[in-house]
């Protein structure tokens, strides 16, 4: 129990004094995960809309695979990205292993299926409402996709936030491809793993509380920007 209290006081102390290392790794965590989130959303949301609107060969198979990949084990993704980006691997010439870019790539792979699956689920329901209207208006397929994405934006926000949540708390993949290099690829989760390894449980817990606080703050911030959950709006 004492370790828990010590962890909480450590967390408060780190935040109040704006510890330079803490600020650095927190900003890096945010940068990596938000970059991954933007890239993953750009891939996953249009993909979800296409899956909802178009009927094509392999559509069912694509949806099934996306759903299955929601549970993709991060450490396996990390290992695959590692092998591909290693100097021995097919993309070794790029020299990306152990850089923040490699961490972003791994996180994108982890969260694209998650965002696409959740987004597809809600867009499919929206599509069944809009189907007759959009067909009778003679809209093009591109217009239908745009309409769905715009009118379903609140639900898509939820999908993106789920992706953010999975990425920011992820440690297995980024540990493997980032290498947890101080001042270079160390983020909150890998720092927590490192401090646990050193037996510094209070500091590890402190960092953990900062991570939880960060996730809550980002979610609140995005809701506020998106003006959701307010009176007079749905």
């Amino acid at each position: 129990m004492s370790e828990l209290w010590e962890g909480i006081t450590r967390a408060i102390w780190l935040v109040v004094t704006l510890d330079a290392d803490l600020v650095e790794i927190t900003l890096r965590s945010l940068r990596v995960t938000l970059s991954a989130l933007v890239v993953a959303s750009l891939i996953a949301l249009p993909l979800a809309a296409v899956l909802a609107v178009r009927r094509f060969w392999l559509r069912r198979a694509t949806i099934a695979v996306l759903n299955a990949l929601m549970g993709l084990p991060p450490v396996v993704v990390g290992l695959l990205v590692y092998v591909v980006l290693s100097r021995d691997g097919p993309l070794g010439v790029l020299g990306l292993l152990f850089t923040p870019t490699a961490m972003i790539i791994a996180q994108v792979i982890i969260i694209v299926p998650l965002i696409a699956s959740i987004a597809h689920q809600s867009l499919r329901e929206l599509w069944s409402d809009y189907h007759d209207l959009l067909i009778s208006l003679h809209t093009s397929q591109f217009q239908r996709i745009c309409t769905l994405l715009w009118d379903g934006r609140r639900a898509l926000l939820t999908a993106a936030l789920a992706g953010f949540g999975r990425a920011i708390g992820e440690v297995g993949a980024i540990m493997v491809v980032g290498g947890n290099i101080d001042h270079h690829t160390r983020v909150l989760t890998t720092a927590i793993a490192l401090e646990t390894g050193k037996g510094e449980f209070a500091l590890a817990l402190g960092l953990g509380f900062v991570l939880i606080g960060l996730a809550v703050a980002v979610n609140l911030c995005i809701h506020w920007l998106g003006q959701t959950e307010r009176t007079g709006r749905w």
């Binding site: 970059s35 100097r87 070794g92 292993l97 152990f98 101080d182 490192l194 646990t196 037996g199 510094e200």
Partner: protein, 267 residues
């Protein structure tokens, strides 16, 4: 206000890269846990303008990283593996830098009487004789290889051990956490032990046998095999590591008043 937040989010997603001389060095967990790196790296940066990025892994993985050319040099402690690395042409040469030592840690009660051991082999025979719970790294690291060679030297075979021998497949810190939780015996390098924060009921029971000395060596990756390797920077770093300045810093590094490393590079 909203503009500020949006632009802050945008700024975060843009990747800013600072260009300085930098190289990647794979080091072992035991070296990093000692805390010596935090003394040496700022000095290296001040003297050479070189940012050394440390990849903290077990010796097994450090050697793999060197073989693949993913790092520019490695600093490890497992002579056999290092020699195999050189024989296969992955490295240019091997330079001994310093040594520290391994120690036996166990519960304060010391049911196996390791405290009375006369040699490292005797200590291990006592543990095996009492079938006291023993945590092994089990991760193909330098420390793990050393432990296995010590069991061999004590005429015991780790393969045939019963339930009391627990291979956790983890780094030094994680293995110490496990031993602390189970009140088990474990072999650790002295530096990791002194810096470890969760000692619980454990204490240092045996050390001092010369076979427990642990030689660290620096091996630059062969640029003939991997042309992208920054061999000039690796050479600069080697020059610094064997300098008198490094010697002073390494020899004077202490935790709780105890000296950890002995500099023994041939200058």
């Amino acid at each position: 206000m909203k503009h500020v937040i949006w632009s802050a989010l945008a700024a975060l997603t843009v990747h800013t890269a600072a260009w300085a001389d930098e190289m990647k060095l794979a080091v072992t967990t035991s070296f990093h846990n000692s805390g010596l790196a935090e003394i040496l790296l700022p000095e290296i940066k001040a003297d050479l303008g070189l940012e050394v990025q440390l990849l903290v892994v077990g010796t097994g993985q450090a050697i793999r990283l060197g073989e693949a050319g993913d790092v520019d040099a490695i600093l490890v402690h497992s002579k056999k593996a290092e020699e195999a690395f050189l024989a296969a042409g992955h490295g240019t040469h091997r330079r001994e830098i310093m040594y520290n030592d391994f120690v036996f840690i166990g519960p304060k009660g010391d049911a196996a009487h390791v405290h009375d051991a006369t040699t490292a082999a005797d200590a291990l025979q006592k543990i095996a004789g009492a079938e006291a719970v023993f945590v092994s790294r089990g991760d193909d690291s330098g420390t793990h290889k050393k432990e296995l060679s010590l069991w061999n030297a004590a005429d015991l075979d780790a393969e045939g051990f019963g339930d009391w021998y627990r291979a956790v497949g983890a780094g030094m810190g994680a293995a110490l956490n496990t031993a602390s939780g189970m009140g088990a015996y474990i072999m650790s390098d002295r530096a990791s032990w002194l810096n470890f924060g969760n000692k619980g009921d454990l204490e240092l029971l045996y050390s001092g046998d010369p076979v427990l000395f642990n030689q660290y060596a620096y091996l630059p990756v062969n640029p003939g095999k991997h042309p992208h390797v920054k061999s000039e920077l690796a050479e600069q770093l080697e020059g610094w590591l064997v300098s008198d300045k490094a010697k002073g810093l390494i020899n004077s590094y202490k935790i709780n008043g105890e000296t950890l490393f002995v500099f023994n590079a041939k200058q």
